[in-house]
């Protein structure tokens, strides 16, 4: 009996020590190896209405890949809110998936960690070449002048979605093309408990996307050419104020939207509580909320008075999208490259982007007639003519939080009836800027 106990104690101790030493291990082979050629792990970002939907969409495709190559893909769909933290943890521990999806705005930040495989000419050749992809999508896959850290998978852009029935009832014929029109039309629509425009005031990423577009339209930028933050310039203050004023001064956004961060504004839109939303590739979400194709119309996001969507001050969207990256220390580098090639192949691109309501970043796939309906034509035109990538600096993810939080706090002020002034906007942006540590 005693001997068993002693043996048990020894066993536990030994296993503990083994675990302890194992923690310190983990070799990081540069550029990956092919130690386990028959299997790869894939973290997909949650693209569809829920995780089960993504599994249903991707499952058969992964089976197809397995049949073609004999490589089994272990799929995990990661919710958007967890994804960045999961990637960080995987980067820090060296224990991550082989292939993963990343938000394209994080490309430079994640590139700076050095954990992702750089897409040099050789790696691009393995998946059919860089020329297959749309330029703007490649532009949001890493810092300028460096090999991209990822490959574009799904492209999206912002559009103005409007509820046709609500417009008809208010006697409005066409959606606003400029911000002045947005305010005039908006004030006609905002009455009897209904509101003109939806917003996600507590959603930091969404705040950043809107602030970025307004900043571009004011001819400003959140980082200067050397990569230093310039959050609180007069132009940026005006830009952020113009956005928050849609609630604070123009009163065309419901104050309650200040606490939205879980896409509640899409639900309000589908329920006829708000007449318009600025959103990226929203069609599939509207359908899950019970709308039918034809209930909503799609138009480009408004631009400053007198302009038409284009470059410079008429930029009206960020280049939104999902990229696909390979962890540098993968145990199956060849398999990972094959898998990226498969997912970015013409056929898969058509199929997956159709399902998700996004635009293929692969040129050859874009010509499919499925991407020529009203919604996707607007999104595609925006992407090709009037969208700009978010600043491709390593500090991008900090910038999203710092400025996103500033906008969130300003919306909270507006909702609570506190004045949103040039000074209060500047103060918040200055604070955000000082939080950026080099």
């Amino acid at each position: 009996m005693r001997r068993t106990r002693a043996a048990a104690v020894t066993a536990v101790t030994v296993s503990m020590l083994a675990a302890a030493t194992a923690c310190g291990g983990g070799s990081a082979t540069e550029g990956g190896s092919n130690k386990s050629p028959k299997e790869i792990t894939y973290w997909a970002s949650n693209q569809g209405p829920d995780i089960a939907a993504d599994q249903a969409t991707l499952g058969p495709e992964l089976k197809k890949f397995e049949e073609q190559t004999g490589i089994k893909v272990k799929l995990e769909v990661v919710p958007w809110s967890d994804l960045l933290n999961r990637i960080l943890a995987a980067t820090a521990s060296g224990q991550g998936p082989d292939v993963l999806n990343i938000g394209n705005t994080w490309s430079s930040s994640l590139q700076a960690t050095g954990a992702l495989l750089p897409w040099d000419a050789k790696n691009f050749d393995a998946i059919g070449g860089k020329d297959r992809f749309v330029d703007s999508a490649i532009g949001s896959a890493g810092a300028a002048g460096k090999d991209p850290a990822a490959v574009p998978l799904y492209s999206m852009s912002y559009a103005l979605y409007y509820n046709k029935k609500m417009f008809q009832e208010a006697g409005i014929e066409k959606p606003p093309a400029t911000w002045d029109e947005m305010v005039t039309i908006g004030q006609k629509l905002s009455k009897d408990g209904k509101w003109a425009l939806g917003a996600e005031g507590a959603n930091l990423s969404n705040n950043i996307h809107q602030a970025f577009v307004f900043s571009q339209q004011h001819g400003a930028s959140f980082f200067d050419a050397s990569g230093k933050p310039t959050f609180d310039t007069a132009e940026n203050v005006d830009a952020v104020k113009q956005y928050v004023d849609l609630m604070a001064k123009d009163r065309i956004i419901a104050p309650g939207n200040a606490e939205y961060d879980k896409n509640q504004s899409l639900q309000d839109f589908a329920n006829g509580k708000t007449a318009m939303v600025l959103w990226q590739s929203a069609a599939s979400s509207f359908k899950t909320h019970g709308m039918k194709e034809g209930d909503w119309g799609t138009a480009p996001v408004p631009v400053p008075a007198g302009g038409t969507p284009g470059t410079g001050k008429n930029v009206n969207s960020m280049v939104a999208g999902i990229n696909m990256a390979v962890f540098k220390n993968t145990d199956n580098i060849d398999g990972s490259l094959k898998f990226v090639k498969f997912m970015t192949g013409d056929e898969e691109q058509k199929l997956l982007n159709k399902t998700y309501g996004s635009i293929p970043p692969v040129k050859a796939a874009q010509s499919d007639p499925a991407f020529a309906n009203e919604d996707l034509t607007v999104l595609r035109n925006t992407l090709s003519t009037s969208a700009a990538p978010l600043p491709q600096v390593p500090e991008e993810s900090q910038f999203e939080t710092a400025v996103g939080t500033a906008v969130k706090e300003l919306f909270a002020d507006a909702a609570a009836g506190r004045a949103v002034t040039t000074e209060s906007v500047k103060a918040k942006l200055t604070k955000a800027q000082q939080q950026m540590q080099k």
Binding site: S109, A112, L204, E259, E409, Q434
Partner: protein, 323 residues
């Protein structure tokens, strides 16, 4: 049995006894060893790593191999305590918010728990059921409970505003924001007390079971009323338990991360920016792991100091009372 055989048996028995004694003496240490190793792995090693990190310039450039991050001396600490700059100012603000929040939450939890436990000493019909009900918040999984509160506090569709504004007609026609602005502090406090008081109730109730009934009977005979009984008998008898209870509640509340995180997400409103979430944001959201570590070390030092002072005074008080 020959004498030789008897001697062998005696010797063998003595040896067995001796090794038995040795084994018995070593056994407690052997049994403790795994726990000690776990303690080392789970607490000490990360703590030492955290302290080392706090002296390094650890950003996204180095998280893959944090030991390659350059040393930064006391930079992270000076940044954290420089209250003229936004980082230090925000940390100080968050520290004061947390202190006030902890003070109110612990006081309310303790008061509610004790009051309920005292009144539940009386036997009445349905007491067991009521006791069970009181423990529900403590037994529920934290995440599910807090997310339910988050729904209830929503401005437009939440139950709280529905009751206050629509049913009771209080607070005007405009619904109140609970998860934004200054009110978020009170929303957070409500959830914290709701979650915390059943624990106080449970502990105080257990302590009350140990007070002999005859003490009350004798006091009643001497003409002591209910308040005097509570003041002279109940409270002193649960003193030792209360000391531990308050310390535990203090540490839990001060470090509570789940409640604000589930209520507000990764960036809490300024009025409810508790220090745990503030440090999380500094480390993992803005990717300044070094600064976050320095803040954690400062927090640890503060909590150690408070605990030491608290224990010093409470144990001294008890020794004096015993003497």
């Amino acid at each position: 049995m020959t004498s030789a055989t008897a001697g062998r048996v005696r010797r063998t028995t003595a040896r067995v006894r001796r090794t038995g004694r040795l084994r018995r003496a070593a056994l407690p240490y052997l049994l403790l060893l795994p726990a000690l190793l776990f303690e080392l792995l789970i607490h000490l090693v990360p703590m030492v790593m955290g302290i080392v990190m706090s002296f390094r310039k650890l950003t996204q450039f180095f998280i893959r191999d944090w030991s390659s991050a350059p040393w930064s001396g006391l930079d992270n600490y000076s940044l954290a305590v420089d209250i003229d700059k936004p980082v230090g100012e925000a940390l100080l603000n968050s520290f004061f918010t947390t202190c006030l929040f902890t003070l109110l939450s612990v006081a309310l939890c303790w008061f509610l728990g004790t009051a309920t436990a005292v009144f539940m000493q009386e036997t009445f019909r349905g007491r067991g059921l009521l006791r069970g009900l009181f423990l529900i918040p403590y037994a529920l999984p934290g995440y599910a409970a807090v997310i339910t509160w988050a729904f209830m506090f929503q401005r437009d569709n939440g139950l709280v505003n529905h009751v206050i504004h629509d049913q009771l007609g209080l607070g005007g026609a405009q619904h109140t924001f609970w998860l934004l602005g200054d009110n978020s502090f009170w929303a957070l406090l409500t959830v914290s007390v709701w979650k915390g008081w059943p624990f106080a109730f449970l502990i105080v109730m257990a302590a009350l079971q140990n007070i002999p009934k005859d003490l009350y009977e004798a006091a009643a005979l001497d003409g002591a009323g209910i308040w005097q009984q509570i003041r002279r008998i109940t409270l002193p008898s649960v003193g030792a338990v209360n000391q531990v209870l308050i310390l535990v509640l203090f540490l839990w509340t001060f470090n509570d991360f789940n409640t604000p995180f589930v209520l507000f997400g990764k960036s809490a409103p300024v009025a409810a920016d508790l220090i745990s979430i503030h440090i999380y944001q500094s480390s993992f959201v803005t990717w300044n792991f070094g600064t976050g570590s320095a803040m954690s070390v400062l927090l640890l030092l503060f909590l150690l100091l408070v605990t030491a002072v608290y224990l010093f005074f409470t144990t001294r008080g008890r020794k004096e009372a015993d003497a």
